[in-house]
Symmetry: C2
Subunit: 238 residues, 2 copies
């Protein structure tokens, strides 16, 4: 298999760096095509884990500096995982719904926070940042491999399939503050895009909620807003 630099039309993608690669091997060994290491790799503990996991799952392991240099934009990347893209299904638990997220870093950071606060199901309404982009995976620190996700072209299609979920829509003009809402499971936590949030028509879909704040900035960063909500629910209902 002749590996190309990542672009979203490929049916495989990459983990760059030790941490996400180990998470890939732990959570999705059946999706791994091969692991590539660099001769400068000096992380002994990490190397031992990589050796153990590749041997256990009979995964090809190759030291190839030139190939890493070709695939990774960063000079200091010494481990690369190659894996086949996969499309898990979400289940009937609580959902996180991102409508048109545009930034890979935010998307990955949200996935990392989801796993930290036990949210396992992510819905993405397209168009959206590429969930398999190596930048998303890196920002997630490999947490992507621990969650379910599903892509929809239209929020209405999602609402048809998961009609029992109670919708909570996070909007700067939301009716209730986070502290004032009683969340009834199973629920969907719905967040809009970075530049513009949720369009006003979304307020018809369910309960609108705002995060109380000073009003001295226009809004919070998307990954920050989402993570504040996850933490609130985790610490209150756990």
């Amino acid at each position: 298999m002749r590996l190309k630099r990542y672009n979203k039309t490929l049916d495989y993608s990459y983990t760059f760096g030790m941490y996400p690669t180990i998470e890939l091997l732990r959570a999705k060994p059946d999706k791994v095509v091969q692991i590539i290491t660099h001769s400068k790799l000096s992380d002994e503990e990490g190397s031992r884990i990589i050796d153990t996991l590749t041997a256990k799952h009979s995964i090809a392991l190759e030291c190839n500096d030139r190939l890493i240099h070709k695939l990774s934009p960063k000079e200091s990347c010494y481990v690369v995982g190659v894996f086949n893209k996969y499309y898990p299904k979400i289940n009937q638990e609580n959902h996180v719904v991102l409508v048109n997220p545009t930034n890979s870093g935010n998307l990955g950071t949200i996935i990392r926070s989801m796993l930290a606060f036990n949210f396992n199901n992510l819905v993405i309404i397209r168009p959206a940042a590429d969930i398999f982009h190596p930048d998303t995976i890196r920002a997630s620190m490999g947490a992507l491999f621990g969650i379910n996700f599903e892509l929809f072209d239209d929020i209405n299609r999602y609402l048809e399939v998961f009609s029992i979920h109670n919708q909570y829509l996070f909007m700067t003009e939301g009716q209730d503050t986070l502290d004032g809402v009683s969340f009834s499971p199973p629920y969907s936590l719905v967040f809009g895009s970075e530049p513009s949030g949720l369009p006003p028509r979304y307020s018809e879909l369910g309960n609108t909620v705002r995060i109380a704040q000073s009003g001295r900035v226009d809004s919070l960063n998307l990954a920050i807003s989402a993570s504040i909500v996850f933490h609130h629910l985790y610490s209150r209902y756990h």
Copy 2:
């Protein structure tokens, strides 16, 4: 004045884009050297605000495509603010203390969240990401111009000067959870660096606090952790 591409040794810096530039003009007009616009600028409302504020404060306003192209790494930047760096003092209110933050984006995002939740004083322990880097300012969405900040080379020097502040140290192995702590003002919320958090010896400086989480990821992103704490304090004690 012949403007150079940004580097941290300059005694001036830049805001790139409409939003941070307007925040600069609103909050720190006396620091502004000049405003540069691009002929492709089509944001009418933004242009009107820029015109009004530069006229009000007698600030030079120049349309110069070539200069913007030279200064800004992004193609789509149509407004640049040039301002002199300044070093405000922090006051005796509550403090946010970042020990060796390494990432400009995180630093800016934390500053944006500080303003959203009414934290006005930031302490940075060096070495640290450059608070005046245009990437920091952009991630802050201009919130940098709304806060006080002060740089220290050593946490002990800071503790000498602000000895009445109660220290709360956020560590993954902290003794109390965020919900279980009663914060006594004036307080300092102390966060470590992205890769490694606070060194264990910091636990001697005050109360150690952790953010309750699932244990399924190693840690949260720094800007996420800090913002969760700010929101918790704002919504509980506001």
